[in-house]
Structure formats: structure tokens, C-alpha cells
Amino acid sequence: MSEPNLFAQQETNKRKSAWLVAGFLLFFAWIGFGGDLAFYLYTRKLPSERYHHVFPFIGLIACAIAARAARSAWKHGAKRVLDAAGAQELINPATPELKRLDNVVEEMAIAAGLPKPKIWIVPDPDPNAFATGHDPLTAHLAVTEGLLKVLDRDELQAVVAHEMSHIRNYDIRLMTLLAAMVGAVALLSEMLGRFMRGGGGLGGKGRGGGGGKGKGNPAAAIVLVLWIITLILAPIVSRLLTMGVSRKREYLADASGAQLNRNPLALASALEKIAAATAATKCIAKGAGHMCIVDPAERKLADREGFVGNLLASHPPIRLRLARLRGMGYAAAKQTGTAS
């Protein structure tokens, strides 16, 4: 009976991905055209020999940049994430360890009824794993070297099953787009912030000249204030959005991953081992943390519950994930126990 749920989940993720792109474009359009509007309102009443901002070129440039960024996130987002992590594609598994990984990934691809994703190795001693890509046909699955060392076969299989269900649900599309766009928004607001601080002295003087006339110009002031507020809030909001979206999907991937390998306890013990290695996964950039199976940052928040923990963590507390998995394992054991 997992089929309708799975289908609904895939549709939700595709729809949210589309909305995300739309929201991203709208944000850039507002930053661009809002800037134009404020500029226009300020220069409108200036004497005719001064510059009048009529043609909205800031908006047009911003839209062009946003369209390019969105297109490249859509097409090359996965490649960018993998490159940032320094991942190497596994083509010819030479050692028994790599061969085992290759086999395990193929097993889980069969269980999920999907083509086998490309496998990547991240050179990092801290155990972690993530999946990225645009859809199940072009998916990538990356694990760190540390993961291969720490986990046994069943645990590795459980982690791969978790990632495989991210792939099957189209979580990867949403997460990869989010990673690229959060980065772009942060970059934009930082650039504009620096520009405004740098240009503040000049702008102040210029505005001081027009200030007398600009006083009766509340519309311009309101637009400008709104504009600055969006610019300040955007990186924060986009980051919170990422975390909220990711947190919900981790529980789901834990559960449907356990459906693939039929062994929730293996994932529980894998998560425990991964969480026990408290060092940060350095190779994985900050912007991609929400894609990993366990938050790659140093895990101070990982165990915290309550409002702050909920708001600021990209993953649910490990303890709660373990409890849910063990509950599933117990239920499964009880079922087979009564059946035989």
C-alpha cells in the first residue's frame, strides 16, 4: 500500500521544486525592480538636468542573472554539489571494500526498482552520505571514505537504502535546487550589502542634496525600507526553509529506507555509529549539509529538542530517529514472531 503514498510524495516534491524556482525568480525580480522603483521615486522630482531613473535596467539584469542561476541549478546543481565535496566517481571498484559498496548500491536499486545511481566517494574520514541529482534516472549517491570504514555490510546497506528512498521520492531534486538557490541568495544579499555599505558615504551625500525635495516622498521611503528588509531577511528565511523541508524528509526517508532493506535496526545502529563520530565532515560544504544522512556540522544541536533545536537543525534529533527505527524493528519482529 506504499504506492499511493509514494506517488503523492513524488508529486509534492516536483510541485515544491517548481514553486521554489518560481519563488527564487520572484525574489530576484523584486530585488531588481524594487530597487528600480525606489530609485525612480527618488529621482522623479529632481530638477530636469539631474539623472532620472526611468529604464528599469537593475530589474532586467537581476532577472537575467536569476534565470541563469536557476537554469544552471536545474541542470548542473548535482555536479556542483559533488564538485564542492571533492567527490570522485567510483567506476572500477578495485578494493573489496569498494566492490562491496558497489554491490550494496545495486542491491538497493533493485529493491527500489530504480536504475543504479552513479556512486561517488568523498575523501573524508568522517562517516556521512548524501544523494543528489535531478531525478531517479540521473541520480548520484555519495559516501565518505569514513563511512565505508566504520559500517558493516548491513549498516552500509541501510544507509544506502535511506539515500535510495531520497532518490525515489524526488527529494534529491528539491534538496539540490535548495542548496544552489540558498547559495545564490546568500551571495546576492552579501554583495548588495557590501555595495550599499561601501556606497553609503557617496549615496548619503547625493541624497542629502535631493533630501529637501525627497522629504515629501514617503512612498519611496517605504519601498526602500521594504527592499532592505527583504534583503536582510532573505538569507535567513531561505536557510530556515531548507532546514524545515529537510527535517521532515529525513523521518520519511528513514522509514521508507527501512521498507527497502527490511531492516530498521541496521539503520539505527548505522546512525548511532555515524553520530558517535563527533568531528565535522569538513569536505561537505555548509550549504549542502541538509542533503546528508546526518548533519555534517559539529553536532551540538543534533540532540537538542524544543523550539530552537527544531528551528535551527536540518535534521531531527538522532535520538528520536533511533527511537522510531527501533519501534519499527520491534513491530517487525513481533509480526514475524506471530507468523511463524
Binding site: 504506492e3 571494500e97 566492490k99 562491496r100 554491490n103 545495486e106 542491491e107 526498482g113 511463524s340
Partner: protein
Amino acid sequence: MGKLILFVVVAAIVLWVVAAYNALISLKNQVVNAWKQIDVQLKRRHDLIPNLVNTVKGYMNFERSTLEAVISARNRAVSAQGVAETAKAEGELSQALGRLFALSESYPELKSSSNVLQLQEELTSTENKIGFARQLYNDVATQYNTRQALFPTSLVAGLAKASPAELWEIEDVAERAVPRVDLSLDKPGT
């Protein structure tokens, strides 16, 4: 007005029939596809077994009857036709392999050979792949069977030439536990 209502009703029915028919056909193809997946893995397993027997033969001179049982179970599995017969033959092959692996516990040189370890990983993985492919096949086949039996889709089932797909049953509870392949007592890597 009456004509319009009639037209709408007929159009709705036709659209529904098309949708139900297509859903059944797509499920049917998924079942066929899932079965092909199993087939690929079974073939792989059949190819690995002679290899395994040849490697192990040198170490296990005294267990000739066990090895022969594996070979003959493999040959029967290769020639099996249809879901039920295949399931039975493959089950017997799993049991024969299980006995071989259980016996190999008492041959220390066997357990330390890297060649054997490699074969063990391959066989473990193939056993797993068969298991997961079977899981997928049974899931899809159950969906297909349920869909074609439920009213009102059952009305279209004849049109789509749908008939219940056979599930891959595992009769014997002991056998469910067997496919864990382990040549050595201690796990490699830990």
C-alpha cells in the same frame, strides 16, 4: 440539453475506460519487468556457482556429495520454467548452498583465501539481489492482482487481457532464514 448531458456521460465513461486500461497495462509491464530483474540475478547466480565449486573443490576433497548436490540443484534451477517451478528449484539451490557454506566452516584455509572471500561477497550480494528483486516482484504483482480484481476496474480487466500474476512464494520458514551467506565465523572488516 439532454443530448449534451448524454454526451458528457459517455465521454466520462470512455475517458475512465481508457485510464483504467492504461493503468492495468502499465502495471502488467511493471510485473514483466520485475520478473526480468529476478531472471538477470538468477542467471548471475547460476554462473557464479561452477566458479565457486571449482575454487572450493581443492580444499574440500571429502565433501564430494555436497558439491555434487549443489551442482545438480543448480542444473535443475537453470532448466526450471515458470514462477512456481523456478521458486521451488531456487529454494532447493539455496538450501544446497547453505549446507556447503555450513560445512566450509571447518576448513580454515578456505576461509582465509582471498579468492574465496571475493566469491563470498559476490554470492552474498547475488543472494541479496535475488531477495530484493523477489520483494519488488511480489509487491508489483500484488498491486497488479489487486487492481484487476477490484470493482470497477475488474470490468476492464478482460479488455486488457489481465490475469492474476503468480507470486513467488517461500513455503518453508526455515528457508527464509537460510539465504544469509557466511563462509567465515567472524565478519571481514570488523
